[in-house]
Symmetry: C2
Subunit: 110 residues, 2 copies
């Protein structure tokens, strides 16, 4: 996941309405734009703009079926960030262990 994609994903998640829209899509796989917009106190176009942000971030994927746009939650970006952070915490923990060993060894040298 490159930096541009990270920008898009974090930005998409940086708005409560958008997180709620994402949750709604996740809870109703294959739902359409109207279904989602009825859940929110916002114009349909407003909702569509949020959906566009989520889709640009690859957090949802959609498919035109006739006159409907069916939308699906895509778990991958969040999972990738989660793994990235998991790796980072692990690495940081290892670095702390290495530091601790060094301190202990210095203690034994004296």
């Amino acid at each position: 996941m490159d930096d541009d994609q990270l920008d898009l994903v974090f930005h998409a998640l940086a708005s409560q309405p958008r997180r709620e829209i994402l949750a709604a899509v996740r809870g109703a796989p294959g739902c359409n734009v109207n279904f989602i917009s009825e859940l929110f106190d916002m114009s349909r176009i407003g909702v569509m703009k949020h959906l566009a942000v989520l889709e640009a971030a690859n957090l949802i994927v959609s498919e035109k079926v006739g006159r409907e746009r069916q939308m699906y939650f895509n778990p991958v970006p969040i999972q990738q960030i989660h793994e990235m952070w998991t790796d980072e915490f692990t690495r940081h923990f290892s670095a702390s262990l290495t530091k601790l060993k060094r301190i202990i060894e210095q203690g034994e040298d004296k």
Copy 2:
């Protein structure tokens, strides 16, 4: 972590320069504003604005020591989101298991 805080954290992370500034602070605990701003091709005030965003999101904490502002990385918000996502993946996995059990039981009923 409430929704306002989530907004702040994700927004703070939604900019490559800001992620790089955060990494720089993390790599140099106790560093000052000038140290950070020398690392970037941006005015000091520009960097300060980014630092303010990171601090509002609680991703860094700082402390005025004389004329210096010493800054530290705060790992907590990212860890909290990481846990939140871990919980969610686990719950989702459990829900999938429950669903799978139900399908199997229906298969046995027939």
